[in-house]
Symmetry: C2
Subunit: 362 residues, 2 copies
């Protein structure tokens, strides 16, 4: 069996969790759910898959020190910062380069840093199966979460024919990847049983993903070749990345590779999974009172329902007669937003970024 | 002409302006509208009516020092604290006692401490007319604000026949006092032209109000007689009030006297007037943006309308997609409440009072 590696993608800006999240303290560095940063929880989930020396975290320059603090078990050289963000395909190409430097025959998993998964045993078992599938042949392997509701906030993976039976699980070919559906379409996906949520988790051999990158994003592959050559000549990784990254194409791995590749497999996963994409999602992870209010910290509620109210310990946040509202208080700023408008928090953050008097709040 | 006095009633708890207002810092001690405490603004309005030595402020023990600070021009002995609150009729009886000690032949006005009136000249003129009416005969004189909208939050005064013409103004007998009406009734009042808002401003001779108190609230009159006797024997006012106040009937002057008395006059007043009874009212006194938002201090609004957002300078309060919401941030606490539920802020304050960990926020 070839060596197994895991690369965790920790580059998010976390603007959807403002004001708790900031550019330098995004969601994966916060204990949004649970009592450790989401990234730390993600790493705690990996011991059955790869040892710390085989685990990389890709982040950005602003967060690299905080990420290192959140990953005390990882060798410092396994934490790599992109000089600028160039979407997930560039990060995947970098991940492949990092793993190839250690072992060109390796297989590695790409995992997001900030998702909630409680079923540790289920997660380990499914990922081990995915490694086995990837090691068995030239497939790009995805994890497909079995949907539990007609979610409109996720992309879906439609399964094709049966590829193999591994560890007592049926693995399928992927028919196609589909964008976030509307409610009606999502209902039909749920009913059909043929669709899975795309959780952004992938497993593949270095050789397999490299071939796909060369074919579908040749400029990206060439740039990483330049980096590899530079490393061979003793140039530092940071300097090499500084040099090539600004010119890289900004494209997601889903769009650049997964939707175009031919040999793609999906391992259906029935472990609990939540990407906790925005404030309203956290209500799923905390107890609520009889009126459906989630109150965290020094929060008091008078005659309202369906609210999420979060305050730090010293400051009372009191809501009177509110419904389906998000209120988040931090020492520097307070957010008030209806749950239904949570997607607009990004717009607010963009305005803060553009305001010289307020950009330190981002 | 007999001497003129003014007694300002500054006993309110200000719970409707929580968290800006507190028990020891109620609305009349705050610059809710304008840049001075409402009480200071009230006193600044009086020079045409009575000199500072003829002006009293009745407050309570918790607020007496803060009130004295807000009234630097007033002799300290003119600031009198009730040991416990016993509603407005007891305060009127005390006011009458205080004025009578100075001049039994005097006429005095009772004025609330925390209303907004910008038309200083109009206010002075109407009040001088009211003094003239009171000095001319044994009437209890009220100020009736000419209504500008079908308000359901105020009591109304129905005028009766014409009493006299003074200073070019027609003064009317009062037909009756009516409680806060529903919307339909308020509309009919507005259309009729026969109804005024009851602003809680009264003018009368000491002898006239004393006679009314003796007739309609004899126990209250008797208690004040006891206080007067004690003062004559050299006992301190505070000690005497401590003695009698707990046993006093808790009743409003409107209910105890005005609704029962026979000789009541009303001077129609067309100066601007607003009792600023709760948070939603302050929107009338500050500029709003094109979407009807009133933003005070460090407040930022993204895609909402009709909100009132108030923050202290250091802390950003950002609202996203909110409508008709009140958000008030102070260093210790933040309130979020729909405008339509502002009356329930009192309930919240009662819960804070009952909570040992939170009663210091009241």
């Amino acid at each position: 069996m070839s060596a197994r590696y895991v690369v965790v993608m920790a580059g998010g800006k976390g603007e959807r969790f403002w004001p708790s999240s900031r550019l330098a303290r995004p969601k994966h560095l916060l204990p949004i759910v649970g009592d450790k940063p989401m990234l730390t929880q993600t790493l705690d989930r990996l011991p059955d898959l790869a040892p710390p020396e085989n685990t990389f975290v890709i982040t950005n320059r602003e967060q690299v020190e905080a990420v290192a603090e959140a990953c005390p078990a990882l060798p410092r050289e396994n934490i790599v910062a992109e000089p600028v963000g160039r979407d997930t395909c560039a990060a995947v190409a970098l991940a492949s380069l990092l793993v190839r430097q250690r072992d060109p025959a390796a297989t590695f998993a790409i995992l997001p840093a900030d998702h909630v998964i409680r079923d540790q045993a289920g997660f380990s078992a499914i990922l081990r199966t995915a490694f086995s599938v990837a090691e068995a042949g030239p497939n790009l392997v995805t994890i497909g979460i079995v949907p539990t509701e007609p979610a409109t906030g996720y992309g879906y993976i439609q399964r094709g024919g049966r590829l193999s039976e591994i560890d007592g699980r049926t693995v399928y070919r992927v028919e196609r990847f589909v964008e976030k559906p509307d409610r009606e379409t999502a209902l039909s996906y749920l009913d059909s049983g043929d669709y899975f949520w795309n959780a952004g988790m992938f497993v593949w051999q270095v050789a397999t993903i490299d071939k796909a990158l060369s074919r579908h994003t040749p400029s990206l592959a060439k740039a990483m070749e330049t980096v590899a050559n530079g490393l061979a000549q003793g140039t530092s990784l940071d300097a090499l990345l500084d040099n090539v990254y600004p010119g890289l194409e900004k494209i997601s791995v889903d769009y650049a590779i997964m939707e175009r590749a031919e040999a793609v497999a999906v391992v259906p996963a029935d472990f609990d999974w939540d990407d906790v994409g925005a404030w309203p999602a956290i209500a799923r992870h905390f107890p609520s009172d009889k009126d459906g209010n989630v109150l965290r910290g020094n929060a008091l509620q008078e005659g309202g329902k369906g609210n999420i109210v979060i305050s730090n310990a010293d400051h009372l946040v009191a809501t009177v007669g509110c419904e389906d509202l998000i209120v988040v208080h931090t020492p520097e700023a307070t957010l008030v937003c209806p749950k239904s408008r949570a997607q607009d928090i990004k717009k607010l953050v963009k305005r803060l970024e553009a305001d010289p008097r307020r950009q330190d709040l981002v």
